[in-house]
């Protein structure tokens, strides 16, 4: 479904609101939005980005056109129940109304203290079982020694990659990677920073720390 929105002559935040209404109601796979200023171009593009659309924009003076295409790699249409965001969640109308947003913070490569070999085995088991949380699992954040779980040779690399494909965000601390000199070794997830981590903790409905 394609849709055209003319938001020229409208003051901020109307262009974003018109786009939001259209996306919420009809979930078009493609849409174009016409606006008359650059601020609106950035705002509308950013909004569409948070809803899983890829955007390009053209124009100058008082006519700009934003072309958007729904881009999440899922076979289902954007309006389906399997809505999963790769971008920060909309604070007002989060698509996952019925589920929780659980953030799991993993600051180690082994579970608990005592026997390290046992701890490593438990961590493998923990991460492999984490998927049982289903839709409630929102983000897995790896810091300190936890970032070592994301490099080649990690026994849970395959599982983490599978989670990422299911649109569970895997976030890996950039400071930690650089501390261990592993910036180029990371095989899964996106590099993140403390501000993003703290913001995500605030947005999460539950934070589990390991």
């Amino acid at each position: 479904m394609t849709m055209d929105i003319d938001a020229r002559g409208l003051a901020c935040p109307q262009p974003v609101l018109m786009t939001k209404q259209a996306v919420d109601k009809d979930r078009p796979s493609r849409l174009t939005v016409q606006v008359d200023n650059e601020a609106a171009v950035e705002n509308v593009s950013r909004f569409l980005g948070t809803r899983g659309y890829e955007t390009t924009s053209t124009g100058q003076g008082d006519l700009f056109t934003i072309s958007a295409r729904y881009a999440l790699k899922t076979e289902e249409a954007p309006g389906s129940t399997a809505t999963a965001e790769s971008a920060p969640a909309d604070p007002v109308t989060d698509g996952r109304e019925k589920s929780q947003k659980i953030l799991v913070l993993i600051a180690t490569d082994r579970m608990g203290f005592g026997d390290d070999d046992l701890g490593r085995k438990l961590m493998i088991s923990f991460i492999n079982t984490l998927g049982e949380m289903g839709n409630d699992l929102w983000r897995v954040v790896l810091v300190n020694n936890g970032v070592k779980l994301t490099i080649a040779g990690s026994p849970v690399l395959e599982t983490l990659c599978a989670y990422e494909k299911q649109n569970i965000s895997i976030w890996v601390c950039g400071t930690c990677l650089s501390h261990f000199d592993l910036l180029n070794e990371k095989q899964v997830g996106e590099t993140t920073n403390m501000l993003d981590i703290v913001t995500a903790m605030q947005l999460a409905t539950k934070v589990i720390t390991l």
Partner: protein, 304 residues
Amino acid sequence: MGTADDAGVYKISDDLALIQTVDFFTPIVDDPYDFGRIAAANALSDVYAMGGIPKTALNLVAFPLSSMDMSVLKKILAGGIRILEESGTVLLGGHSVEDDELKYGLSVTGFVHPDRILTNQGLKPGDRLILTKPLGTGVMNTAVKAGLASQDQIHEITELMATLNRDAAKIMTRFPISACTDITGFGLLGHLAEMIAGTLNGVRIFSGQVPLISGALAFAEMGLVPGGAFRNRQFRGGMVSVGDRIRPALRDLLFDPQTSGGLLMGCPENRVHDLMSALHDQGISSAAVIGEVSDTLPGKIGVV
């Protein structure tokens, strides 16, 4: 006495100078009483930012008599008087005109010792920068207009904008502050740019330390950034370099135009701890050290 601040200064004698300022705008909140409070806090702020104490004020009113009930105006003026009383300022009178669009504000006169005037010039290498209110009123007001802000959020920003900078200013006079400004329409980075433009100083801003209004970042991510933030960025973008890891939404908040924003002050590093303790003890809980001044990159602002 010439300064590049929003207020003007006139020296009367060796121990007394007048600070005079005027500020008015169209409504930014629905409730007329709250609008009056915010307009007054905003107008008084210029005096506080210069280290002065406000003494007298005059109302400025533009009112659409044909389309609006006089009770609205009464509530606006009552809100303004409420804040003037809180600040210890006497209302002497005012002037009103009929206009299609409602506007309200005040002209404020304050006192300061000529040797104790603070301006937005004078930052020194090594100074730390302290901001006393969280950023994001522009984005939040856009979210309010969009009908997306909750009642709690509306209440929070209303109180924030109606909060006087009086207590922060009072504490400031006990410390060797090098320069000060209040954050308004140009946003944090716009006002900061004014503080270092044409000087040998540069500034590093620690974006993770900058206090933000709760919810503002999420609304900015949604695309609820006011046009003023883009204009501020276009105007001063050349002086600012933003780190790769800084999200565009956070960058936009640093340029977000503020209504009745906080004070931004420079303080020598060895007194920052005491200054922060004093601010927090006074209940100014959002106050934070958000950056440092250096002479390595003159005239530049680096956001890290």
